[in-house]
Subunit: 336 residues, 2 copies
């Protein structure tokens, strides 16, 4: 296959967009022309790609007929403003912002439900799920045949980078201030994030659920193809720069055999299982890696119908940029 493609990345100067451009290079994606787009603030700056500096342009002025495939990595409002224009220009779209409804742009994790791509109309529109749904789908996918899964309980401990560049700077600033006995100033977070855990990531609805939690439930059900799976979820913000961690407890209708579980995890694509007496961490293992790490595989205390796992994953790579590039690799086979 010697064909190459004109690609646009909206939000190319952001946490996810930067990594996405790097991955297009690292994975030798067949890019003909690369268009890196952002707001007027970054227009004129540049992004490195294959040894050259590519000039950043304003998305508002972009002629979408110049691209065959567009990645939207600049927040839901930006996706909603430009997706129709891109579609009308014949672009296929991979959205990373969670802005599009699933009937318009289904959620896809290549390791789990790539088969649905073949049934979509062209130009293709798909969504890369939230980092939490992606990491859980990668790990639970290969276990579904083994388990009579009744419920997934998860506490997702999210890195501040999940909220973009400003959140990263604020954790660094707050930590430095506290260690130097300076007064704490908050701007991005509404309270002390350094040396603390925040139990609510985003604004809750009348029922007390935050958007990230609702997305996780909806997207995980969709990607696993289990629309009525019971999922208990709490998303918390941890004082960690990069890498999400998940405490996961699965309830099963019948006892599960642990050696079968570890064999399935070892064989699963995109998974790294660590040794039984060790465990993975965000900083020590996941960050900068393409796989989802799994450890602490164990039954419940007195309960062989319970399976517990600890996952860590790079929220910016597999959680966003890598998953999107993997989707693009599938699309160029014959769907663009």
């Amino acid at each position: 296959m010697n064909q190459s493609f004109d690609i646009a990345v909206v939000g190319a100067t952001g946490t996810v967009g930067e990594t996405l451009v790097q991955l297009l290079q690292e994975r030798e994606f067949p890019v003909a022309n690369l268009h890196v787009l952002a707001s007027s603030e970054s227009a004129g700056s540049s992004v490195p790609f294959r040894g050259k500096n590519v000039r950043v342009r304003e998305v508002d002025e972009f002629d979408f007929t110049k691209a065959k495939l567009v990645f939207f990595a600049a927040g839901p409002a930006v996706t909603l403003s430009y997706v129709a224009k891109a579609h009308a220009a014949g672009c296929s779209v991979i959205d990373l912002s969670g802005a599009l409804p699933s009937d318009q742009a289904p959620q896809v994790v290549p390791e789990c439900n790539a088969q649905i791509l073949a049934g979509l109309e062209k130009p293709i529109q798909i969504s890369s799920p939230s980092p939490s749904a992606t990491a859980l789908a990668v790990v639970l996918g290969p276990l579904l045949e083994l388990l009579e899964l009744q419920r997934v309980s998860v506490t997702a401990c999210l890195a501040v980078s999940a909220q973009g560049r400003e959140a990263v700077s604020e954790l660094a600033r707050q930590t430095t201030a506290l260690l130097n006995m300076h007064p704490l100033e908050t701007s991005f977070f509404d309270r002390q994030m350094a040396f603390n855990l925040l139990a609510q990531v985003g604004k809750p609805d009348a029922q007390g659920h935050v958007p990230l939690e609702k997305r996780l439930v909806k997207e995980l059900r969709e990607v696993l193809g289990l629309p009525s799976l019971k999922i208990s979820v709490t998303c918390i913000q941890a004082p960690v720069f990069f890498g999400d961690s998940y405490s996961v407890s699965l309830q099963l209708a019948a006892p599960v055999d642990l050696p079968a579980v570890t064999a399935a995890l070892e064989a699963g694509a995109g998974i790294e299982l660590v040794d039984a007496d060790d465990y993975p961490t965000a900083v020590g293992d996941a960050v900068g890696q393409d796989v989802v790490y799994v450890g602490r595989v164990r039954h419940g205390i007195d309960d062989t119908c319970e399976l517990n796992l600890w996952l860590t994953s790079d929220n910016v790579r597999k959680g966003a940029a890598l998953n999107a590039v993997q989707l693009a690799e599938l699309l160029i086979k014959d769907l663009l």
Copy 2:
């Protein structure tokens, strides 16, 4: 009641012991003589109490007939070395180290199962449960009548102070080193604790469970009087100095009415319920306070048979020193 009592605190120079001595003063516990005990390392130093400096003595040289009540707050090995001597000398004992089996020293949280004290033989021996079991018991206790509880799933995010003074220093040292771009040195923790989450607090058994997780299950069942309650638990170490946080999901046999839950929590002793759109944090709320804070009270997504809660509690106060002093306050009524 004008009687006062001779008290000994073993481990009085530690994180828990220091707070315990402070609380005896703050709560005007009727102390006649206070004996503050530690290892040979601290012997000769002193601990402030009621405006005086009390000299620290070596526990090994202490004559236990001088005390009516002994708090053991110096680790399980120290409890096991001296408890028989204390008992033989006629002392009542409150153990904070988790060293003693429940048939010898039952686990007690005053808000939940104080009634068992009356049935114990003198001199009394009781245990103050781990901070996790204590916080969960305080909050679940008043809900039991309302709920047909089938399972508790909890991810306990523990502060480093739960592991004592050395762990606190190491988090500070690691954070400073990283912010100054110095190489990371680990000694207390076996890997990077700053800006990271560790999924395994202690050494796992052959089944993968760590002692803290087994204690939580055993102690919570005992204090709630529900010996076969299903409890899914993961204890993780967070880069937080003081204050534990708990992500809790309860499964129920029947739908629960949220207003009834909030009413029960508001009425419960030792609980502070925060407003529905707010949530408590370790640093902002729990630290230095006597109550367990509760927030994010909500059903599951699509599931009224699920009740979710977020708790934060001062691990050193209600998790240890305060609970022990409250137990002592009950004992002096007529049990010493």
